[in-house]
Structure formats: structure tokens, C-alpha cells
């Protein structure tokens, strides 16, 4: 029951075929929407689409499914689990009113939490399209999403990091060297997470054991994850491997996820398996999801939608499985989807806002590839903006250089920079550990010890050659 939309501007009449086209044309410029052929054809058309979208009632999104209900299990998830009671206070609003309401003094963190399950991904995407960057930051900062496993992620005033010790051949000492570097720079409270160079079950188990042993020996209040396919992780659990978090890349349409080789049942099965291990000490959020604008188009599974709307729908998948962490890998996909620093920055802020509004523990891989028009300064800017917005976590990698995946993300140093300028802190349990281990000398001022902490010095001395 899709309707068309029109807007009369002076002597010109703009027509939008349906809600999907209106959403796409209202989206701030990005190369992926041009590649998909859904982008506004002029700046004026985009501005008019935004004005038209602002008049659309939020209720429309409950009646007009952008991807047909019969064809897509994610549409069914969104519609079937919509909470009408939570929606009631905002049910009378248009998209434009919704922006005003979100920015209003009335929309406190408690109020925003109470309407969360009444907001669909499409509503979040729609309102984000008519919000400026400062609006996305201001509202996201009011949306508090807290999760826990061996520590607590997402408390206001805190910023965690995923320690990403990737190595092109999964060399155990090479990985351990990057883990050590990260820990000694105060990183790794969100997760220690490895992208394996060779993606199979036995390799994953080897890496899980490696991280499990390090976490146990040094009593680190954090969790590990091998970023392998969800079906591999299920097999790892069956084989008795020490699985903390289950990983999966997810998209916002059923067809995208089929191309990734899983569906919602697979995720449910994996979550149950991980919960059965009871490895969390302060909470039971056991899932780690990664997303990113452009994945649906890349899998030719976008149903004519713009890439940001597809992305927001992925957060409905995430929300269903109560993850510890959700990471939008914003600049990894390349310039055919997000061309330059400006587009990457905008997408990062949109994803963080939509995720938080929907109640997802959103972090961001602030990153770029060498064929994108972006550099370290763009990453500094986005990192700072996300820090201000209350982003749950970012990546930490030695010197910003991922030597396995060949892209640049935020470094261990970057995390300390943003913590220091914004006064944000690691997860509380992890911060205590940093102080106890004599890694952090002054947690309030983010000052590190200069000497190598004794337990780590011992491990270095034990190396062949015994050099200290």
C-alpha cells in the first residue's frame, strides 16, 4: 500500500514514487547511493525530499514496509516485535516533529530509553536524514546503552576499545606482541578481537585458546573474540573451545544475510550455545556484531533502498540478540560506497546515532582504505566527534596500521588522546586493573607509568635469548 509523494516548489513539482525513493533522495550525498542509482539528481531535489520526508507521519513506517513483509524476515522481525505501548508517546509525530522532540529538553535519557522499542530502524533512519551532524551528536549522547560480560561497556563518560592484534599469518607471538602493546597502552576493555588470517574451525580454536590463556593468566577483566563465521563459532563451542563472544557480520535485509550464510535462527542458536558456557562474570551479553553501510548493495540485496536505511535495519537484527558490542566498520568498504572523509564522517555519526536511538551498544571502527579520499586528519575529526557523542567503543591497533586487513583504523595512542581531551574513561573494572597492574599511574589524568610492569617484564625476560 505504498503511496507516492509530491512537493510543489514555485513553478516546479517534485514527484517521489514511493517512500523508499523519498528516503533515498533525502539522504545526504554518498557514492554508494549513486552507484545504486537511487541518489537525488540535484542538490535541490535532495533538499525538497528532506522537506517532504519531514511531513511524513511516523505511523506511515508501520504501514508501508520498505522491504515486503512476506519476502524478508527482518521486516517481519521489525513489524512483529514493534512495541505499540512504547510508541504511544511519539505516535502522533511526523518525522520533522520527531527531530524537534528528540532535541527537546523533554527527551531525557530516561524518556529516550522508554520509547526505544517503539522506534523502528526506518523511523531512526528517516529522522537522521534531516538532522545535522550536531543533532546526531547531541541526541546520541542522551541515549545510554549499557552492556556487560566481564566488564561494563557504555556507561556515560566512558569510552572502551577493541584491541585488534591481527597478524597476516596468525603467528602466535606476533599476535601476543600486539596484545602486549595494546594492554600497556591501556587498550582492550571492549574486547580483544582477532580477524583470523585463515578462517576455519581449528584455527579459530587455536586463537581462542591463546587469548583465553592470556586473559586468565593476567586476570584481565575483558573478553575475547575470534571474528570467524557464526557457524564456525558454533562448532568451536561444540568442540569445547573457550568462546566468550560470538561474532557475525550482519546486514539489514534477509538476502544480505543469506549471502553471508546465516539467518536469524542461526544467530539464536549461536547465542544459546554461548550463554550455556556461562563465561561472563558481570553480565551475559555474548554477541559481537559488525555492520557497515554498503554491505546490502555489495551483496546485490538492497531492494532499491539507500544504503543508510539498509544499515539501520541491521540494528534491528542486532537488538534482537542483546549484543555486548556492535561495530559499524564505517570506512572499510571503500570509495565506491563512501567516497571521502566527509562522507565517512557523516556515515559514522548517522550509524552511531541510529544504533544508540534503537538501544544498540554502538561502537565505530573509525577507518579508511588507501583508495579513499581520506587521511589521518579525517580520522582524528571523526574520532573526536564520536567521543563527544558518547560512542561506546572504538578500535585500537598498533600505529593505526592493520597489517592483515590492509586498512587504517584508530591506534592505541588515539584512544588515549580522545580519553584525555574529553575526560572519558575505560570500563571501570578494566580501569581498576590498569591501576593495579601499574600500567596507569594516574587514571584521573590518563597518565601511564614509564616502567614496564613486573609481570610483563618477566614474560619478556623469558623469551629466547633472555634479553630484558
Amino acid at each position: 500500500m505504498s503511496q507516492s509523494y509530491r512537493y510543489v516548489l514555485g513553478s516546479k513539482t517534485y514527484q517521489f514514487r514511493d517512500l523508499a525513493e523519498l528516503m533515498a533522495k533525502a539522504t545526504p550525498h554518498r557514492s554508494g547511493d549513486r552507484l545504486a542509482g537511487v541518489i537525488a539528481l540535484s542538490a535541490e531535489e535532495r533538499a525538497v525530499a528532506q522537506m517532504t520526508l519531514a511531513e511524513v507521519p511516523l505511523k506511515t513506517f508501520l504501514n508501508d514496509a520498505l522491504v515486503p513483509y512476506e519476502q524478508d524476515e527482518i521486516t517481519r522481525l521489525i513489524m512483529d516485535e514493534h512495541d505499540a505501548e512504547a510508541f504511544a508517546p511519539i505516535a502522533h509525530l511526523t518525522v520533522g516533529d520527531f527531530r524537534n522532540w528528540l532535541l527537546s529538553d523533554y527527551a531525557t535519557p530516561e524518556v529516550l530509553r522508554s520509547v526505544r522499542l517503539g522506534i523502528t530502524p526506518e523511523m531512526a533512519a528517516a529522522v537522521s536524514k534531516i538532522m545535522r551532524n550536531q543533532d546526531l551528536i547531541l541526541v546520541a549522547k542522551k541515549c545510554h546503552v549499557t552492556t556487560a560480560f566481564r566488564n561494563t561497556i557504555g556507561l556515560p563518560g566512558h569510552l572502551s576499545t577493541r584491541l585488534q592484534p591481527n597478524h597476516p599469518t596468525d603467528d602466535v607471538n606476533g599476535i601476543a606482541a600486539s596484545i602486549l602493546d595494546g594492554l600497556l597502552y591501556g587498550n582492550g576493555d571492549a574486547v580483544i578481537g582477532i580477524n583470523p588470517a585463515t578462517d576455519n574451525v581449528s584455527q579459530a580454536i587455536k586463537l581462542m585458546k591463546l587469548m583465553g590463556e592470556v586473559i586468565e593468566k593476567y586476570e584481565i577483566p575483558t573478553q575475547s573474540c575470534v571474528l570467524t563465521h557464526v557457524t564456525n563459532t558454533i562448532e568451536c563451542i561444540e568442540a569445547g573451545a573457550p568462546v566468550d563472544l560470538v561474532f557475525q557480520s550482519i546486514g539489514g535485509t534477509e538476502a544480505t544475510n543469506s549471502s553471508f550464510g546465516f539467518n536469524l535462527n542461526t544467530l539464536a542458536e549461536a547465542r544459546e550455545a554461548a550463554l550455556s558456557l556461562k563465561r561472563g562474570s558481570v553480565g551475559d551479553n555474548v554477541m559481537y556484531f559488525e555492520t557497515g553501510q554498503g554491505s546490502a548493495l555489495s551483496a546485490n540485496a538492497h531492494h532499491g533502498l539507500d544504503q543508510q536505511t539498509c544499515e539501520a535495519r541491521a540494528y534491528a537484527v542486532a537488538r534482537k540478540f542483546k549484543p555486548l558490542l556492535v561495530n559499524t566498520v564505517v570506512g572499510f568498504i571503500g570509495p565506491e560506497y563512501l567516497f571521502d572523509g566527509k562522507e565517512i564522517t557523516r556515515a559514522g555519526l548517522e550509524d552511531h546515532f541510529c544504533g544508540k536511538l534503537l538501544g544498540v551498544p554502538m561502537g565505530c571502527d573509525v577507518c579508511y582504505t588507501n583508495h579513499a579520499e581520506a587521511d589521518q586528519n579525517d580520522m582524528d575529526n571523526l574520532l573526536t566527534l564520536l567521543g563527544v557523542a558518547g560512542c561506546s567503543f572504538v578500535m585500537g591497533i598498533p600505529g593505526s596500521d592493520d597489517i592483515m586487513l590492509n586498512y587504517q583504523t584508530t591506534s592505541f595512542h588515539d584512544a588515549l588522546y580522545v580519553r584525555r581531551v574529553l575526560g572519558s574513561r575505560p570500563a571501570p573494572e578494566f580501569e581498576q586493573w590498569l591501576t593495579r597492574m601499574q600500567i596507569m599511574r594516574d587514571a584521573d589524568r590518563h597518565i601511564l607509568h614509564e616502567a614496564l610492569p613486573e609481570p610483563f617484564a618477566r614474560s619478556l625476560k623469558a623469551l629466547p635469548g633472555g634479553r630484558a
Binding site: 597476516p168 603467528d171 600486539s178 587521511d375 588515549l416 630484558a468
Partner: protein
């Protein structure tokens, strides 16, 4: 205004503390930097406060600059052709210069679909060749594509082809070769068009890979049996990271020969053609890392 005291007097206490801070403002080195023997990751960089020391910051900028140049510097096709012509055992006839439908780099980066298609002039050039209309198929077409790193192609393409052509020449069952083609602003799938137009059984495509910060010169090799438009990457076999600091030319040539033989025997390429020369599980001595070895 109060009377000034001699400088040495006033400065005594505060100056020593400032002096101390000046001294302590130097870079903090990381003693674990020697763990770089285990990894190329940028560990143990040290710090100025909590920030990157100047030398490390500038070293990173240099690496990024090199990777950027690899993407944006156009391939010097003239120089490449001269180098190719100097190779032994080259197929007869000139090297053919082709272009994709992506006009320039900006269009290439934003429209991967255009980089997968030959432009009209290039198609006509191939259609006019005698091989294209010959009754018998040629065994192999070698296609060289700039891809995302002209540097990779410029530095490694001819150097890799030299040992490969020697190996092919030494084969008992001979390999007939189509004219070598060089494509500007091309993606991997452009080889499908070329393979079909050249009437070749197999296409071996050499392409500049997306440059990494520490590997701006990485050459990728793609083998496609029975190449024709509409194939996806599941129909290809890939060998990556061919460069002096990565996979050596002779080893890459050996692997390609293995894949070519198997492709000809099985009449296919891609996921059903397994490269048995690689191990599935990467094993390292011992298995315990230094952090838990005590």
C-alpha cells in the same frame, strides 16, 4: 611595580622545576619494541605524552603517501610495453593497449561496474584480430591491468612473467598464447570480456591490488577458465601479494603453473579447483606465545 631582583635569585626554585619538565618532556621509549622480530605491526612506537613521537608520525605519513601515489599515479604503459617486449618467449605480435569504460581515476574509484567493461575502441581492436575469429581456441590469454596500484604492475608484472613464460615453455603439453593485453582503469572482471573476445580457454590476469600501508606494491593474479562476461569471483582462483617482500616471483609462477595444469585437466577454475600447495591450518613451532610461556 616591584623592584626586580637579580635573575639568578628569582629563578632559583621555579626554574629547576621547569628544567626538570623540559628534561622529562622527551619521548618515552618502549622496551618491548624488540618484539617486532615477531610482527610487522607498528608496536613499541613510544610516546610523547600519550601521542605519537614525531619520527613515528612522519614515518606513517610517508607510508600513506606511497600508498596514495600507488593508487593515483597512472601506469606508464609505454615503459611497461618496452619491458615486456624485452622478455624471452613472449607471444608473437605487439602488446595490445586497451582501456575500460571508466574514463579517469575518479570515475574508476566510484564506479567499479565501468572498470569491468572494455570501452568500444578496445572491443573493436580485439574483434579485428585473427585469433578472435580462428576456429581453434588459444590456450591462454595473459592480461595486465593497472587496478588499484600502478606501482605493483610497473614493478612486478614483467618480473613475474619472466619465470612463468619459462615454465610454460618447458611444459610437455604446450600452451599456445594469445597476444598480451594491457588494460588501463580496469578491474578483475575486465578479463572476462577479453578472454571471450580473444577466444582463449583460460585467462591469467595480473592486477595491482588495493595498496596496504606497508605493501603499496602488491600484485594479484587471477586465473579464470572459460572466461566470459557474467562470471563472479567464485569462478576464479587468486594468488595474492606477489612482490619482492611478499610471495616471490618464482614461487608465484610455480603456483600459477599448478593451477593452470589443474584447470586444463578439470576444465574449470574457482572454488572447485583447490590450491593444494597451500596449507589450511597455519602451524607455528610450539604453539605457546611468550606471554604465557613461563
Amino acid at each position: 611595580m616591584s623592584e626586580r631582583k637579580p635573575e639568578s635569585d628569582t629563578a632559583a626554585k621555579p626554574a629547576s622545576s621547569v628544567e626538570q619538565h623540559v628534561q622529562n618532556g622527551k619521548v618515552v621509549e618502549n622496551p618491548w619494541r624488540r618484539l617486532r622480530e615477531f610482527t610487522d605491526a607498528r608496536i613499541g612506537l613510544g610516546r610523547a605524552g600519550i601521542s605519537l613521537p614525531t619520527s613515528e608520525m612522519l614515518a606513517f605519513q610517508l607510508s600513506h603517501a606511497q600508498a596514495r601515489d600507488a593508487v593515483h599515479f597512472p601506469l606508464d604503459v609505454e615503459a611497461l610495453c618496452t619491458e615486456l617486449t624485452g622478455l624471452n618467449r613472449l607471444p608473437s605480435g605487439p602488446v595490445l593497449r586497451l582501456h575500460s569504460q571508466a574514463e579517469d581515476r575518479v570515475s574508476y574509484l566510484q564506479r567499479p561496474d565501468l572498470g569491468r567493461l572494455l570501452d568500444d575502441a578496445s572491443r573493436e581492436q580485439l574483434i579485428g584480430l585473427p585469433t578472435a575469429s580462428a576456429a581453434a581456441k588459444t590456450d591462454l590469454a595473459i592480461v595486465i591491468v593497472d587496478g588499484l596500484s600502478s606501482l605493483a604492475v610497473q614493478q612486478n608484472a614483467a618480473a613475474f612473467l619472466s619465470p612463468l613464460l619459462d615454465l610454460l615453455q618447458a611444459e610437455q603439453e604446450p600452451w599456445s598464447l594469445a597476444p598480451i593485453t594491457v588494460v588501463e582503469q580496469g578491474r578483475v572482471a575486465v578479463g572476462d570480456d577479453i578472454g571471450e573476445l580473444l577466444n582463449a580457454r583460460a585467462v591469467l590476469l595480473l592486477i595491482g591490488e588495493r595498496p596496504g600501508l606497508s605493501s603499496p606494491d602488491s600484485l594479484g593474479l587471477y586465473l579464470t577458465w572459460d572466461a566470459r562476461p557474467g562470471l563472479n569471483d567464485a569462478a576464479r582462483n587468486c594468488i595474492s601479494n606477489v612482490r619482492p617482500a611478499g610471495l616471490a616471483y618464482s614461487e608465484a609462477a610455480r603456483r600459477v603453473l599448478y593451477l593452470l595444469r589443474e584447470a586444463r585437466r578439470l576444465k574449470l577454475s574457482g572454488v572447485k579447483l583447490k590450491d593444494r600447495t597451500e596449507d589450511d591450518v597455519i602451524e607455528h613451532g610450539g604453539g605457546k606465545n611468550f606471554l604465557i610461556s613461563e
